[in-house]
């Protein structure tokens, strides 16, 4: 099922366009990697999808309706984000962070129902960090923090989750663990997952499709394997023949 669709979307700040003419769709169960050099506009795209900034041109549709026609509360139930920034409060607990994901569903004083508490526990279990529930968030390792932020997005119970560089700062085993977690969310929970990453080798293995923002601000979308076979990846990443052959194996 089609969840998100852009038509002739241009993104950027005020009148400065960073990337233009983006035409993509995000479907149920998709796991898509957004790749490109630093500064190409990956974060700008996330900020546009999360309505932190307005598109410079074109349209974004969410379930066939214009993204900006949703109220902030409605949107919060459809699209969850995980960013590179982290809460840094001295006493904020893991439970509190994941509970924040229930914010769009709670009443005026944010009182959690039994159902909310359950969702929080299930989310933590799904990412495998339920033992951290009473810990202070600030005392966790980078990998644990990342998982808790993902648990927050799961507790938010949205059909789309977008993650900005979720594998940065992680060691190799944690990266693999995270990629398989994202794949599991896409395949088992039928969520649409969009994430940015620089780990080309790994993401080719775990994702179906790639969105590439290239240096010349062009936007290319396509099947990961095909993009690799027909040399598009090689071209945009400036890979040597030997490196390309290695990835093709």
């Amino acid at each position: 099922m089609e969840i998100l669709k852009t038509s002739a979307l241009s993104i950027g700040y005020d009148t400065k366009t960073v990337v233009s003419n983006i035409n993509v769709t995000l479907n149920e169960g998709d796991i898509i990697a957004l790749v490109g050099p630093n500064g190409a506009g990956k974060s700008t795209l996330f900020k546009t999808f999360s309505t932190h900034i307005k598109p410079v041109g074109g349209k974004i549709e969410l379930f066939g309706k214009d993204l900006i026609s949703y109220s902030p509360k409605e949107r919060a139930k459809l699209l969850g984000i995980v960013l590179t920034e982290r809460p840094d409060d001295m006493f904020l607990k893991v439970f509190d962070v994941v509970a924040a994901g229930r914010y769009p569903y709670t009443g005026m004083f944010g009182k959690l129902t039994e159902n909310d508490e359950n969702e929080i526990k299930v989310s933590l279990e799904l990412v495998g960090v339920n033992h951290l529930i009473d810990r202070v968030f600030n005392t966790l390792s980078d990998g644990e923090k990342q998982k808790v932020m993902i648990a927050k997005a799961i507790a938010q119970n949205t059909p789309i989750i977008m993650l900005d560089e979720p594998t940065a700062f992680l060691d190799y085993p944690s990266k693999i663990e995270l990629f398989s977690l994202l794949k599991k969310l896409a395949k088992e929970q039928k969520k649409a997952i969009l994430f940015s990453s620089h780990d080309l080798e790994l993401l080719l293995r775990y994702t179906d499709n790639l969105w590439i923002i290239a240096k010349d601000q062009q936007f290319v979308a396509g099947n990961s394997t095909e993009l690799l076979k027909n040399g598009v990846i090689k071209k945009y990443f400036g890979l040597k023949d030997t490196d390309n052959d290695y990835l093709l194996k």
Partner: protein
């Protein structure tokens, strides 16, 4: 922290507060015997003079300290969470500076127009000073609201607030330079802060305006909690950032403006009390922090008022000299203790 521990902590703070409140009634330049307090309060054939001292001076003063302490402390908590800066306090919005400017303008204008000092107008001068302080505070508050409604970035907002505070401060200094000597004295006294300015006659208006503001803060707890994750996350969770910061600045500015108008610019309470609440309860949940901060603010203001009025000081020690003197060691000890 377990629920029972939280209840225990809150109850402890309340009991200390009640004890301090009673102490405030009978300690001062005239010591009221303990049994007389109850005679006066229960109207059991009390001593006339003592009755006047308690009802007209000590009770309103203790109530003022209670309400002002709660207001400034909770206003500080709101600022610290909104700006995600542990050093933020209501003065960062330039509100106290705005109040000072208002007072400065009134003092200069009366001096320049009538040629006499404001203080020579007696009772009217205290009303005039309160009103001027309130108007000055509100004007700065609206300037800050105008900025906050156009900005999402809290760092730029905090810088603008500080600049406005400096600007108002320097204009006040220029005004003072041209003022009469008697008025500068009046201005300095106002700037030292005091809980004795409200009195019985102005108490109803003061109390009702403050209580309304305090009640409203409870409705902000959910949004404040969500802000702890950071602005981008809060926005993604459905929080309207601009609207929310306008409301938080409005509420904390409103409380600060009223307290400053009646009691003068009181420093330190807003900055320090939220930290005591956080470290004491090891929590960042505003549903707990808001009432805890208010209660701790009340206790602290009552302690300060008590010390400022100790018999030896003849009732004249400025509150601002006491708040940091008492408060700073408390904050340091609370932090050190929780670090163990």
């Amino acid at each position: 922290m377990k629920n029972s521990k939280i209840t225990f902590g809150i109850l402890g703070i309340i009991i200390v507060g009640i004890a301090l409140f009673i102490l405030n009634l009978f300690v001062g330049s005239v010591t009221v015997p303990f049994d007389e307090i109850f005679k006066v309060l229960l109207d059991d054939n009390p001593d006339k003079t003592l009755s006047v001292i308690i009802f007209n001076y000590r009770l309103p003063q203790a109530l003022t300290a209670l309400l002002a302490g709660a207001s400034l402390a909770v206003a500080g908590l709101l600022m610290q969470t909104l700006f995600r800066n542990p050093l933020a306090d209501p003065s960062m919005l330039g509100i106290s500076s705005g109040a000072s400017l208002g007072v400065g303008i009134v003092i200069l204008l009366t001096g320049a127009i009538s040629g006499t000092a404001v203080s020579s107008f007696g009772w009217w001068s205290t009303i005039g000073v309160s009103l001027a302080a309130f108007i000055g505070a509100v004007v700065v508050l609206f300037v800050m609201l105008a900025f906050s409604s156009r900005m999402k970035n809290m760092t730029t907002l905090i810088i603008i607030g500080l600049m406005i505070a400096y600007l108002a401060g320097s204009i006040t200094d220029i005004l003072k330079f041209f003022s009469l000597k008697e008025d500068i004295h009046a201005f300095v006294i106002w700037g030292m802060g005091s809980f004795s300015g409200v009195g019985t006659s102005k108490m109803p208006v003061f109390a009702i305006s403050i209580i309304i503001g305090l009640v409203v803060t409870f409705f902000l707890s959910k949004n404040l909690n969500i802000l702890l994750l950071g602005e981008m996350y809060a926005e993604n969770l459905g929080l309207n950032l601009r609207k929310n910061s306008v409301i938080i600045i409005l509420v904390s500015g409103y409380l600060t403006a009223i307290v400053t108008a009646y009691c003068g610019p009181i420093a330190f309470v807003g900055l320090a009390m939220p930290h005591i609440a956080r470290f004491l309860f090891k929590s960042s949940d505003h549903r707990l922090l808001i009432p805890a901060t208010m209660l701790i603010g009340m206790d602290m203001a009552l302690i300060c008022n008590l010390i400022a009025r100790m018999p030896g000081f003849d009732g004249n020690l400025p509150i601002n000299a006491v708040t940091a003197f008492i408060g700073a060691p408390v904050v340091i000890s609370v932090i050190l203790k929780s670090r163990k």
